[in-house]
Every structure is written in C-alpha cells, then in structure tokens.
C-alpha cells in the first residue's frame, strides 16, 4: 500500500506545481508585450500622463517578480484585484457566476454520465451490430458539430417551432430550484448531447480494448459463462479507463460550458470571461482563467488518483 500512497502524493504534488506554473504564465503573459499593457489598452494616442497613471493603477511600475508575489499573496487571501472596466472587486463578479456555471455543468453531468457509460458498454458488447453501427455514425457526426450548431438546432426545434422551453436561460437567486431547472433545460440538453457523444465513443473503445486482451480470451476458453467473464474479469480492469473517460469529459464540460453560456445568455463564468476578453479587462480574465484551470487540473488529478486506487495491479505490487 505504501507504494500507492507514494504515487498519489507524487501526483498531487505535480498537480499543484502545474497550477503554480500556469499562474506564472497567465500573470507573466503581460510582460511579453512590446511596450506595456497600459499603452496597449489605452491605444497609441493616449496622453503620457494618462498612461503613467494607468500604469500606476496596474502596479506596472513595480518589477515583475514583486508584482507576481503581491498578486499571489492577495489571491491566497481571496482578493483577486479590481476589474478595469467598472472598478468592482473581481471576487464579487466571479463568485455567484461560478456557482451558476457549476449548477449547469453538474446538471449536464448527472444526466450524461450514466447514459454514455451504458450506451458505450452495450455498443462494445454487441460490436458491429446494427445498434453499434447506428450509434457510431450518430456520435461521430455529433462530435463533428460545433456546440453552437447543436444549440441553435435545439432552439429552433424546441423553443421556436414548439414553444416549450425558453431560448434565453436567465436565472437568479429568487427563483426556486425547479424554476431554475426549467430555465436551463436547453443549455443542459446541448451539453449533454455533445458530452454523451464523446464519452460514449471513448467508453466503447476502452471496453473493446479490455475485451481483446489475452486474459479475457483465456477466461472464455476455460468455458466461464459470458456474464461472469464480464462482471468478474472485465469489469475490475475496465474501471480505471472508464473513470479516466468520465473525468476527461467532465473536464471537457468545463470548456463546452463557455460557448453554451454565450448562446443562451446564461449568467455564468464563461460568459463573463468572454465579455472581459473583448473589453480586455485583464484582471477578470486572469481570475476566470485561473478558476477554469484549477477545476480542470483538479478533475484530472481526481481521475488519476481514482485510477491508481482502482487498478488491481498497482494495489497489489509483486
């Protein structure tokens, strides 16, 4: 078991180190500009005094490493700086939007994961059947569609032709849980469709990979019943790749959510980030980027730890 703890600790350490490196890149990206950020944002015809004042406000007059350390220190205390666009603290802008984004992503995940895993396993067990072929075609097409295409098709069908669901998903704190669920049906459905397609294909591939391995053939040749082969021999070994597939796709959800939020004008973190990029509101963009990055790295980390734990070969070293 020591071996396993060691591996897990190593993996967590690596995750934290990666996040740290990314925060440096995000922060130092500003340094790579010819001239500096103040000139870049204010434009070429800004007065020198305005540029100097703006530079002071951004603390660009300090050397980069001091600024980075001060920024990281503030971040640890929960202070993410102020928005350049309206001077409000970034933490206020980000907090409730992040909660909204999580609400949407988790709703989609709760529906998508069981469906995708089930379909993937069935397709793998009945490989090359009609069911498998139809579903392979359908998913290959769906993963080729941009998210906004799926979203607009759903809007055209369910919100314009049959007026069932709203095409704009505005939610606020006053709404009850079920009202919120009703409001996010379409964005949730869009994310579900896209994620199911990806996840199902990968599950199918992972299971087929396991079923093709020599120990399964051995079990079959010994004359063990088909269900017993699947439950006792294939399942424990398939667990780790399937966990990886789930985590990978939940992480994918983090990105898919950005585009879907923009389509449905949903008040989430992705929408805020996109708006801030076009306004070039750097502190807000850095904060959003860092949150997305932490969630993404966190999910991958969880997947790695879980697959270390669930891998029989790592648990019982020779």
């Amino acid at each position: 078991m020591d071996n396993v703890y060691g591996l897990i600790l190593k993996r967590i350490g690596l995750g934290i180190l990666t996040l740290f490196a990314i925060s440096i890149i995000f922060f130092m990206g500003v340094e790579a500009l010819p001239g500096d950020l103040a000139e870049e944002i204010l434009g070429q015809n800004a007065l020198p005094e305005t540029v100097a004042a703006f530079r002071k406000e951004l603390k660009l007059d300090l050397p980069p490493h001091e600024r980075y350390i001060a920024w990281l220190g503030d971040l640890m205390k929960g202070d993410m700086g102020k928005s350049l666009a309206n001077g409000r603290p970034v933490a206020d802008l980000v907090g409730w939007r992040f909660a909204n984004t999580l609400f949407l992503a988790i709703s989609a995940a709760v529906i998508a994961v069981p469906i995708a895993i089930l379909l993937g396993i069935i397709a793998a067990l009945y490989r090359n059947s009609l069911f498998d072929r139809i579903i392979s075609m359908a998913t290959l097409s769906t993963i080729s569609f941009p998210e906004f295409f799926v979203a607009y098709i759903l809007i055209a069908l369910l919100s314009v032709q049959l007026i069932i669901f709203p095409s704009i998903s505005n939610i606020n704190a006053q709404m009850s849980f079920w009202e919120k669920i009703y409001a996010i049906v379409l964005p949730c459905l869009t994310l579900t469709l896209v994620v199911v397609a990806h996840m199902m294909r990968q599950t199918r591939a992972a299971i087929i990979n396991i079923l093709a391995s020599p120990f399964i053939e051995m079990a079959r040749l010994k004359g063990i019943q088909r269900t017993r082969v699947i439950v006792m021999h294939a399942f424990p070994n398939a667990l780790s790749p399937v966990i990886n597939v789930i985590a990978l796709n939940l992480a994918y959800l983090v990105v898919g959510v950005v585009i879907v939020e923009v389509v449905f004008v949903y008040p989430g973190l992705g929408q805020l980030m996109v708006d801030s990029v076009s306004k070039r509101d750097i502190p807000v963009v850095q904060a959003c980027g860092l949150i997305f990055a932490s969630v993404y790295i966190g999910l991958n980390l969880t997947a790695d730890v879980l697959s270390i734990i669930s891998n029989p070969r790592l648990r019982n070293p020779r």
Binding site: L140, Y152, R280
Partner: protein, 274 residues
C-alpha cells in the same frame, strides 16, 4: 498511384467524406467566380427569405447569404489550413529536435508542453488574446503555438521509436549531421501517423477558429467567416428564421467529412480487419 488503389478499396463512407471535402474546397477556391455579389455588398432587405435571386436569403444587414457563405469558406478554411501547417512546422521540428538531441533540450521542451497541455486550449487562448488583442496574424500565431503542443507530443514519440533503428545508427556513424538525420531518415518514416494527425488537427483548429469567431474574439467583421456569421445572425432564430443555421451547418458538414476520412485512415493504419 497507391492513393488511387487505396481509394478503390475504400468503404462508401470514406468516399462520401472525400466528396464533402472536395465540395468545400471547390466552393472556397471558386468563390469569386460563382458568387453572384461581392463579399460586403448590401443587396437587399434584412433577413430576406430564400429566392432565386438570393439562394439562401440575406443576412442581418441585407448582404447576400450565399455569397457570404462562399467567401466564408474561403476565409475560414484558408486560415485554419495556415494555422495547421504552422502548428505542424513548429511541432514537428521541436519534437524531432527533442528526440534526436535528448538531454536538457528534451527535458525543457517536454515539461513546457506538459504545462501548456494541462489546461484546455480555449482557456489559454482567451487569456492570451485578452493580453495581445486579436488581429488575424496574432490569432494565427497564438493558435498555432498552442496547437503545436499536441503535434510535438506525437512527433517526439514517433521519432523516439525511429531514433533507435539500425539505419539511423548507421547514418550517424557515417557522420551525417542532425539536419540530414531528421530530413532523410526520421521524417519519411514518421510520415503516416503524422498525416492522420494532420486531418484531426485541422478539424480541431477549424472548429476552434469557428468557436472563437462565434464568441466575437476571432476573425472580425466585415470579413466573412462561418463562426462570425452565426453570431451576427443569431438574433434571427427567435423569429423562426433559420439564416444562422446555414453557416453552422457548413462548419458541421466539413468537419463530418474530414472525420469520416480520418476514421477510415486510422482504421486502415491500425490494420484491423473487422
């Protein structure tokens, strides 16, 4: 020659894919010839329905949608192609260098790529674009750099396998330089997996550009591009006008085509019979 032989044995789905791609390339190449109007000319009312004059109706400020679609194909496909080429040039050269030189060059490049690949390209691209702004040349360089990390991984792995072959060892003992080794020994043998990857990367870059333009952060109007056209016309959908679905469907059409081909290519390359 072997390409046609391969094509004759190909399943229907791969041929359909090829036809879909060729149709897009034809539309892109012949846009100025086929298009009935010019790219930015306002020729009618807002969101006019389909008619013989305007095959796909008009857009949100009365430009001919069919014309914009043709020019959109030209711009979007060309930019995605340039980015993929650049990304492969960077990725392959860095990957081969890392594999042949080894040592600290490999270590530094690989750790850097690990960090860049630890988070989604979209998030990284948004942060970078917020800082540098978004003109087309900047967009091309930023996306190519981010995308080249994936190419680097593959070309490094492939080159590592080839590096240990006897013929590379022989060339090395003959006193050939590192450039010669990379160009004459490693590249020709690494080509098949890289070609399949090119299709996949092109799809990814193409969808990525479309997504950025859709978010209003990619190719800027009035240049016609499919992602941006969906964004501009998105308001129409609530009136039951399907104008924004045309460019979105065109994006899907091309990526489905490329994916059909790549899927078949991977199938052939993997040597599976069923």
């Amino acid at each position: 020659m072997s390409f046609f032989k391969l094509l004759r044995k190909s399943p229907a789905i791969a041929r359909i894919g090829l036809a879909m791609i060729l149709l897009n390339i034809a539309a892109a190449a012949l846009a100025p010839v086929i298009a009935p109007y010019s790219e930015t000319e306002q020729v009618g009312d807002v969101w006019m329905p389909m008619s013989s004059e305007h095959l796909l109706g008009t857009d949100h400020i009365g430009r001919d949608m069919f014309t914009r679609m043709l020019y959109g194909a030209r711009n979007t496909i060309l930019i995605a192609f340039v980015i993929t080429m650049l990304s492969f040039a960077i990725g392959i050269s860095c990957g081969f260098f890392a594999a042949t030189l080894g040592g600290w060059v490999d270590l530094i490049l690989s750790r850097l790529v690990d960090i860049l690949m630890a988070i989604p390209v979209l998030i990284f691209a948004l942060v970078v674009l917020a800082v540098v702004g978004n003109s087309i040349p900047k967009l091309i360089v930023v996306i190519a750099l981010l995308d080249s990390t994936r190419v680097y991984r593959l070309s490094r792995a492939v080159a590592m396998d080839i590096e240990v072959m006897e013929y590379v060892e022989a060339a090395r003992l003959r006193g050939e330089g590192i450039w010669w080794l990379m160009r004459h020994e490693i590249l020709p043998n690494a080509l098949p997996p890289l070609v399949a990857e090119f299709g996949l990367r092109f799809c990814f870059v193409f969808l990525f550009i479309a997504a950025l333009s859709f978010l209003g952060l990619g190719i800027q109007p009035p240049t016609a591009d499919w992602g941006g056209m969906v964004r501009e016309n998105s308001g129409a959908i609530t009136f039951g006008i399907f104008t924004p679905l045309w460019p979105a469907a065109a994006i899907a059409f091309l990526t489905v085509g490329v994916n059909f081909i790549v899927d078949w290519f991977l199938h052939v390359a993997s040597g599976l019979k069923d």
